[in-house]
């Protein structure tokens, strides 16, 4: 458990697939998909919420009120 914690700190700003997989049902972690709506509909990580990059500045506060909320952001990634 401790090792896992240190690992996340060391990474500094990134989160691994394993951690997301392990915490899929965890409500403390918001998984945020920043792709356009259509792409989101084609398939996304279960339980993730969609907030296209264009809308981030306007809508992020409505969607996630707490500034300390743990958030994992992802988009298309490498192809």
């Amino acid at each position: 458990m401790k090792i896992e914690l240190r690992e996340t700190v060391d990474h500094g700003g990134t989160i691994s697939r394993e951690e997301i997989l392990a915490r899929l049902g965890d409500r403390a972690l918001v998984i945020l998909n920043v792709m356009p709506k259509e792409t989101f509909a084609d398939g996304h990580i279960p339980g993730s919420i969609n907030l296209p990059v264009v809308d981030v500045e306007a809508k992020a506060r409505q969607l996630i009120a707490n500034f300390n909320q743990e958030i994992a952001v992802y988009c298309a990634g490498a192809t």
Partner: protein, 313 residues
Amino acid sequence: MGLLEGMGYTNVRHYVGGMADWLERGAPVEKSAATIEAPPVPSSARQSIIRRLSWLEILANWPLERLVGFWLGMIVVFGVIYWLAGVGMGWGLQAGNALVKPDLSGFATAIYFSFVTALSIGYGDVIPVGPLRILAVIEGIAGLLVFGCVISKLVSRRQEELTEEIHRTTFEDRLDRVRTNLHLVFSDFGSVQQLQAERGSLPGQVLRRLESTVGVFRGELQTIHDLLYKSRVEPDEEALESLLANLVVCLQSLLEIKSSIVTANGQSARLDAGLKSVSGLANEICGECVPHSYAPVLKESMDQIQELARKIA
């Protein structure tokens, strides 16, 4: 993403692999358009929003022509009411010492009075008598408000044109500057590489210079990042294409330098920090996430940039 952190979120982490990495390992996928919307606004708050969007706000959102039309129409309607109200009841409009009659010249007088009231001129040659005085006060207030909307529309229209113009020119300026600076960065990288090839290792002075070049590069990358994500103006694709191509070249040469320097000179903490933030920024230039949809060529270079970024990290 940098955007969220810029807004004040403190606990944001980036799943760099994204969907591609997720699918590759056969992790579960959900397919639906059902996004979790923002929690519903409590009804009391919603009501106050509706109240705030009162008729005045609706009025202010009308186009100029409609506003002017509404203003004129309102004056005519009030004029007709003044003209017909109180016929035979001993009250109405009074010009001189006699009540205005409901005939054609009376109509002209009523319209004239309506204009004088709506413009809050109030000459006083025609005066309302009885309950019409209340109506005249209401018209005075309404006339002021609507006319105020008309004036503010005129002013803001010009202002919008100006800000649009300013946005466009600063945008082009920034684009030009980034392009020039990327060229400088690239030639700097080139000379560092040459020195490296000649001597096998870099003297401390050159290493310092490399560090500062990486710093400049980081700044330019930040600007490109902002241009792609935060800009109100859609970048010209041709300009963007050459910009991204330059970026790819710079990143490639930075990658080469990085791999050769680490073997020859050992570690430099400042260089490492610079490289890390360059890689982080470049990694966020994502063809799928940028707000505009660009030509495939541009997406390709964005993908290339992301790939290089991962190698540099």
